[in-house]
């Protein structure tokens, strides 16, 4: 359904008069910028070097870093969940949990008394109320930015926005192939979708560690409204 636009003509005519600009119906050519420093950052780094950069950056963003193979992912995840004292876990409805064979683990966890819930996009109320009480929110990373230590999530369909937000702690599983140098690669990817007229996700989140604030005396407090702790588990690809 198309939305509405109110008061536009008067508003834009005023701007146009002031800047002596073009008419909005004529497309503006975006210039070629004379410099592009963003493209030089971590250029030509190998995937392993990018993992190293990411690991180092995790120390600056108060994030626990783990590295594992796809065969040991289940074991590592179990260790991290135990370490965080996770009694309840919510994870996004993402087919990678199936391809990385974590479903049997989730099922067996239930018998150990750990509550596990998969985000259900058809049941907003239950999903949000579970997420709100959960100890851990668990997602795969869609793209991972080495420079800043950032998990990029394209939140749509089963990838609820709340999974990485409402629980006490957040754990991201990071397939090694999702790691790129920096934000530039993620925004170029989105720009390409825009140029091709494809739908981009209604919410794209760039998540860098746990939530924090320095609003009180500029002293850093880790854990404010979003998760209090965060961990990334880097896994070699399937």
């Amino acid at each position: 359904m198309k939305g509405s636009i109110m008061n536009r003509d008067r508003f834009l005519t005023n701007i146009r008069t002031k800047i002596g600009g073009l008419t909005a119906s004529q497309p503006v050519e975006k210039p070629v910028w004379t410099v592009s420093p963003q493209k030089k950052v971590l250029k030509d780094y190998t995937p392993d070097q990018l993992v190293e950069v990411l690991e180092e950056q995790c120390q600056h963003i108060h994030t626990d870093f783990f590295r594992t193979s796809s065969n040991s992912l289940e074991k590592t995840l179990d260790e991290v969940l135990n370490h965080y004292g996770a009694k309840s876990v919510i994870y996004s409805n993402d087919e990678r949990f199936v391809s990385y064979q974590l479903n049997p683990y989730f099922e067996s966890s239930l018998s150990t008394g750990r509550e596990i819930y998969r985000w259900n996009e058809k049941d907003k109320e239950t999903s949000i109320s579970f997420a709100e009480k959960a100890d851990v929110g668990l997602t795969f990373s869609d793209m991972t930015l080495a420079e800043s230590g950032t998990i990029v999530l394209f939140n749509k369909k089963g990838q609820g926005r709340s999974v990485s937000l409402l629980p006490r702690d957040y754990i991201a599983i990071v397939p090694k192939s999702t790691i790129v140098p920096r934000m530039t690669q993620a925004t170029s990817y989105v720009q390409e979708m825009v140029d091709n007229g494809e739908d981009i996700a209604s919410c794209i989140n760039f998540i860098t560690g746990p939530s924090n604030s320095a609003d009180i005396e500029m002293k850093l407090v880790v854990g404010v409204h979003g998760p209090i702790r965060a961990a990334y588990i880097i896994v070699d690809d399937k």
Partner: protein, 476 residues
């Protein structure tokens, strides 16, 4: 809260700031931390100047074609099912927001940090129709609980308060029982505000940058409150100053990277949230209804003038964090929600010289602001342009200053008068001098001598001394 804050009289505001020792200590240490973090983050890139150049190019181009990009943005948002309202004034914006809220019969509004909503006094307008507006940014929450104490910094609004003061406010207003440790204070706010996020009917956000080509907008935050506000309530309203826009995602990358480094020295903040339209089918969380309010409120007056570059500002506060004047007088002394160098440039433009003619003078013109600005706004040059306009075009300097300048003009126009005046100066000032220093000057000199001594003019004029020295065969 309107744009103007505090006492009407500039000098009274300044005196209050200067005598507030705690605030000055807090500002000093905050400035140092933020300055160092910014400098380290810029240094680390190695080619910070190139990044600034790119930032400047992007901002100039966008503002030069603002009509085009706002048109494109609004088309995209409507295509996605969102509603766009263009508001020329703050009142128009508030009227529209009130209508949306009344139609929803909403009572509880959760809000994330937004300077433009402060500028247009949105909270007060919504409270008038019986809404409860909850500020959810920790700093803004503290100020709201403390009887709407005004913000003193655009990134860290409660910078002027210490943790003991915050503890006492929480104790008095919210029955808080723990200590002044920031961790405990923050945890308490987390628990209090959780309930509010879950119960809110409408979420209101500001906008760091809109992206014209995709109809998106990005929120740059650390606490997670803006994510809550845009994930949980069914209706979302985003209010943006009309200049907060870039063409595409590649430009978003640059301005966000500049903002987080310049503001707090982070490579990226904890959360950069890019939102595009209302939630789509097959999504559980996110708003069903989305409204974008684009606000002019005086900004278009700046377009096409010598101050146009002020609209390039990305609100990082780097200029505030290095300003020696801000360091001494604090944010409230500016009397505007936009303090520091950018505030001294913007406030008289968004309002007028009657209200803010002193601000362009609240600067030593050292140029530190211009040097750190991530999009290269020539801030101190803009302050000089303001001064010129105030004196020459608007004739708003004080009568004493005009008389003095007229007198000075006449004296320096005539060689005889100049000679007589400079010869008389030592004799005229003798009654006020002690040990060759004037400590309590008469009339307009007092403003100077209240703060520091003025050396008495020497008995011998430089020109006479020089002539004598030449005659005596002194080497030049």
């Amino acid at each position: 809260m309107p744009m103007h804050i505090g006492e009407k009289d500039f000098r009274k505001r300044v005196s209050k700031g200067i005598s507030d020792d705690y605030m000055r200590g807090a500002v000093r240490s905050a400035q140092e931390r933020l300055q160092n973090r910014r400098a380290a983050a810029a240094e680390e890139l190695g080619d910070w100047e190139e990044w600034r150049t790119l930032g400047q190019q992007i901002r100039s181009h966008t503002i030069e074609h603002l009509d085009y990009y706002l048109h494109q943005l609004s088309d995209k948002v409507a295509e996605l099912g969102g509603h766009v309202f263009f508001a020329e004034t703050g009142e128009e914006a508030n009227e529209y927001i009130k209508q949306v809220i009344q139609k929803k019969n909403a009572k509880k509004i959760a809000k994330s940090k937004s300077m433009v909503t402060e500028e247009i006094s949105m909270n007060a307008a919504l409270e008038e129709i019986g809404c409860e507006v909850i500020e959810t940014d920790l700093g803004e929450y503290i100020l709201q609980i403390d009887d709407h104490d005004p913000p003193s910094h655009i990134v860290a609004p409660a910078l002027h308060k210490n943790k003991e003061q915050i503890r006492d406010v929480f104790k008095e207003r919210l029955n808080y029982k723990k200590t002044e440790h920031p961790e405990e204070l923050a945890l308490f706010a987390r628990e209090k505000l959780r309930e509010e996020f879950l119960a809110a009917d409408v979420g209101i956000t500001g906008c760091n940058f809109a992206v014209a080509e995709s109809g998106s907008f990005a929120l740059v935050t650390n606490e997670g409150n803006a994510r809550m506000v845009t994930a949980l309530p069914n209706t979302q309203i985003t209010v943006m100053g009309m200049e907060r826009i870039v063409p595409g995602w590649e430009e978003l990358d640059i301005v966000v990277s500049l903002l987080t480094r310049a503001a707090v020295g982070q490579k990226l903040t904890s959360y950069i949230t890019a939102l595009t339209g209302p939630k789509q089918a097959e999504e559980a969380d996110g708003p069903e209804e989305f409204h974008l309010v684009i606000v002019d409120n005086g900004r278009s007056k700046i377009l096409g003038t010598e101050f146009q570059e002020a609209l390039h500002c990305i609100r990082c506060a780097a200029c505030i964090n290095v300003c020696p004047v801000y360091r001494h007088v604090g944010g409230h002394a500016y009397g505007s929600i936009y303090p520091g160098p950018i505030g001294a440039v913007l406030s008289p433009l968004l309002s007028d010289y009657d209200e803010y003619k002193e601000l362009p003078y609240a600067s030593s013109l050292c140029g530190a602001c211009t040097e750190v600005c991530p999009v290269k706004i020539p801030l101190h040059e803009q302050l000089i342009m303001h001064r010129r306009k105030i004196v020459e075009d608007e004739k708003k300097s004080t009568l004493a200053e005009r008389v003095a300048m007229r007198g000075f003009e006449q004296i320096v126009h005539s060689a005889n008068l100049y000679r007589t005046a400079t010869k008389m100066a030592p004799f005229l000032t003798t009654p006020f001098a002690k040990n060759n220093r004037i400590t309590k000057g008469p009339g307009p000199l007092r403003n100077w001598t209240d703060i520091r001594d003025l050396p008495q003019p020497a008995n011998e004029r430089f020109r006479d001394w020089f002539k004598k020295r030449n005659k005596q065969g002194g080497a030049i």
